[in-house]
Structure formats: structure tokens, C-alpha cells
């Protein structure tokens, strides 16, 4: 008889998956797939890239689960792997483009979703637009920090830059966002 794992705690699923339980892994993956995809979409500004990044991340998660020290904290750990994989994609896209467009605001992905454009009459919509207008690097660092809850050191490692640079980007993103959101307080 297969026990219903849908109600099992994250830590239980992570431990079982670490010991080879593929069914537990699938339940864990399905449980957090929406969040992983939303996070990767924010980072890459592309649903196709997000899907690829989450797929790659899923395999890394499966592979590295046996090394996870705190199974109860599996969700944050999964999110860090998603951001690493998303960033690998971002970096390879930039190399392929072969131009330094890092400070050019992105106009792809979430921006052209008509529902989201319509929603900018409220504060949430305003923040969505403000985030979309940020230079790509600032938006990425902001997302890693505020959505992923990652440390400056982790962000520096993921993005291949220094902690000082991360701190500067984050401060600029925060200045811009607080200024743009003043009208909505």
C-alpha cells in the first residue's frame, strides 16, 4: 500500500528523496514548482528560460539532496539552486548577445503580459512595473535578496561579482524602488 505523501512535511520528503525515494521527490518538486517557476521567471524575465532553469535545477536538487544537512530547510535550499541555474542561463545569454546591455532595462517577459499591465492601477502593479523598469542587474540582485532571501556572499557567488558590488546594486535598486513607490504609500 502506498502511503499518501501529499501531507508529508518537506523534511520527510527531502530525507526520503535523499535516500532514493523518487516518489517523495516528485511530491516535493510538485509542491514547490509554482514558486520555483515564479522565482526563475522573475530572474530571467522569460518563461521559456525559467522552465529550462527549473528543469536543470530539479536534477541538481535530486543529485545533491544526499548532501543536504537540514532537510527541514529544503525549500530555501531548492530556491538557491534555482537561482544558480537561472543565472547560468542569464550569463550564457549575455555571452551569446556579446554586448554589454547589463544596464538596459529588460522589456521582455512579464512586462508584456496584458493582465499585468492592466493591474498597474494598484500598488502591486506599480511595483511590478517599477521592478520591470530596473536595470537587469539591479533587478536580479534585488530578487535574489528579497525573494530568495540569499546572503550577500551567496549573491556575489551566484552572480560572479563581489560583495561590495552586490551591496551597491542592492542600494541603488532600493533607492529607485522606494522613490517610485512613494506615491503608493
Amino acid at each position: 500500500m502506498a502511503v499518501d505523501l501529499a501531507g508529508a512535511a518537506d523534511g520527510t520528503l527531502a530525507s526520503r528523496a535523499a535516500e532514493g525515494d523518487e516518489r517523495a521527490f516528485e511530491v516535493l518538486l510538485r509542491r514547490h514548482l509554482g514558486l520555483m517557476t515564479a522565482y526563475a521567471t522573475r530572474l530571467t524575465s522569460s518563461r521559456a528560460d525559467a522552465s529550462d532553469a527549473v528543469q536543470e535545477a530539479s536534477l541538481v536538487i535530486w543529485r545533491e539532496l544526499p548532501q543536504l544537512q537540514a532537510p527541514d530547510a529544503v525549500r530555501g535550499w531548492m530556491m538557491r539552486i534555482v537561482s544558480r541555474k537561472a543565472y547560468d542561463l542569464i550569463r550564457s545569454r549575455r555571452l551569446a548577445d556579446d554586448v554589454d546591455e547589463l544596464e538596459v532595462p529588460s522589456t521582455s517577459g512579464a512586462v508584456d503580459d496584458p493582465e499585468r499591465v492592466a493591474a498597474s492601477t494598484d500598488a502591486m502593479g506599480a511595483l511590478r512595473s517599477a521592478l520591470d523598469r530596473l536595470p537587469a542587474k539591479q533587478r536580479e540582485v534585488w530578487t535574489l535578496r528579497e525573494v530568495g532571501g540569499e546572503s550577500y556572499a551567496d549573491i556575489a557567488e551566484t552572480t560572479g561579482t563581489s560583495v561590495t558590488a552586490v551591496r551597491g546594486l542592492l542600494a541603488r535598486a532600493r533607492e529607485t524602488l522606494t522613490r517610485e513607490m512613494e506615491a503608493w504609500r
Binding site: G7, A8, G20, R31, H32, Q55, S58, W62, L131
Partner: protein, 213 residues
């Protein structure tokens, strides 16, 4: 940035109106980087200079609000994600199965001396999980086989950690799991189990924490 401890506090005589208090000052004496670090450190240790500066406090409040709003946006995005494409899940799972965790090889006696039979440690773990899960109220969290399983007839110890359904008699549940696992191992493997330890490591409610959190 003044570190002069004798510097007077920021003037508080001019009581700012509620509106002024909320106004974000771009060029305040306290840099955004310093405020960011302070916020990220959980406003610890207490920084009297920041905590006494109305514009810094307003900036901190704005940042805290931004953080909460960003979390809401992503939560809303996550909730709005369509159900995963079955072929996407199937693709990931088939790649996962290519990297199954077989673990050690455990020999089985063979009537034919020219051939050797093995069962993988991964298969034995699956067996233990299934046996433990079959006991109502128990969910196996983790299991392990301690000992030199590669040696035919070696004596091993089996460790099983379970989660118990809230309200079940824990001792009886552990005993039942022990019996179920021993039965199945005896039937389907040749392991010589000298001890089987069942630890109740967690208690769970019926399907209360299911679904995305």
C-alpha cells in the same frame, strides 16, 4: 558619515508631521547602503543613530514594506502558475530515474555457484519504507542498514526513523513498524538483522501541511 560620539542628536524640536515622516529623503545623512545592511541584519545590533533619525526610519519602513510587497507578488505569481505540464514532469522524472540511488550491492545466496545474485541497498531501503508506511499512522522519514552488507551472512543493524500521526500511541506504533519491517526483510532478503531500531522523530497531522506553503 560622522562617527563623533559627541555630536548632538538630530534635532527633534521641529516635530515632523505624519506626512513628513513618511517622506523618503534621498540625501539623508545615512546612506542607503548602511540602511540596507542594518535592515538585512534584522536591525541588530541596535543603531541609535539610525533609530533616532526620522528620515532613516521612514526609509526603513518603506524598505520593509517593499520587501513584503515583493514577497506577495512572487506568492501571487506562484499561485497563478498553471499546473505543470505532465510531459515536463515526466521528462524530469525519467532523468531522475536514470540517476537512481542504488547504493551498495547486497549478495543473495545462489543455488548455482557460477552465478552471483545481488539486491541493491536502494531496493532494500524501498522495501523498508514500504513496510513501515503500510502501518496505519506511520510515515517513514529515513532508514539505513548499518554493517558490512557486502559480506554474505554478515550481521547488520537496521535503523528506521518515522513520523507518527498525531494522537497515535507512539510505542505501539514503533513496535508495529518494527514487526512489519522485520517480516518483510525476512521474507525478501537474506539479511541477518541483529537489531532494528525504530525512532519516532516527528509527529504529523492528517494532511494539514500538504500543498504549497
Amino acid at each position: 558619515m560622522s562617527d563623533d560620539p559627541t555630536a548632538p542628536d538630530h534635532p527633534t524640536a521641529a516635530e515632523p508631521s505624519a506626512a513628513d515622516e513618511l517622506e523618503v529623503v534621498d540625501d539623508g545623512p545615512i546612506s542607503m547602503e548602511r540602511l540596507s545592511d542594518y535592515l538585512d541584519a534584522g536591525r541588530e545590533p541596535y543603531d541609535p543613530e539610525i533609530e533616532a533619525d526620522p528620515s532613516a526610519l521612514a526609509q526603513l519602513a518603506a524598505l520593509t514594506r517593499l520587501r513584503a510587497m515583493t514577497a506577495s507578488i512572487v506568492a501571487a505569481d506562484a499561485a497563478a502558475e498553471p499546473a505543470p505540464d505532465p510531459s515536463w514532469i515526466a521528462g524530469v522524472m525519467s532523468r531522475v530515474r536514470l540517476e537512481s540511488r542504488a547504493g551498495r550491492e547486497i549478495p543473495l545466496a545462489s543455488s548455482d555457484p557460477r552465478s552471483t545474485l545481488h539486491i541493491t541497498e536502494g531496493a532494500v531501503r524501498a522495501l523498508i519504507r514500504e513496510a513501515g508506511d503500510s502501518v496505519p499512522g506511520a510515515v517513514v522519514i529515513s532508514c539505513g542498514i548499518v554493517g558490512d552488507v557486502a559480506e554474505p551472512g554478515a550481521v547488520v543493524r537496521v535503523e528506521v526513523a518515522i513520523s507518527a500521526l498525531f494522537g497515535t500511541a507512539v510505542q505501539e506504533l514503533a513496535d508495529e513498524v518494527r514487526r512489519a519491517v522485520l517480516d518483510d526483510l525476512g521474507r525478501q532478503t537474506e539479511l541477518v538483522v541483529e537489531a532494528l531500531d525504530v525512532t519516532v522523530r516527528d509527529v504529523h497531522q492528517l494532511d494539514t501541511d500538504g500543498g504549497p506553503r
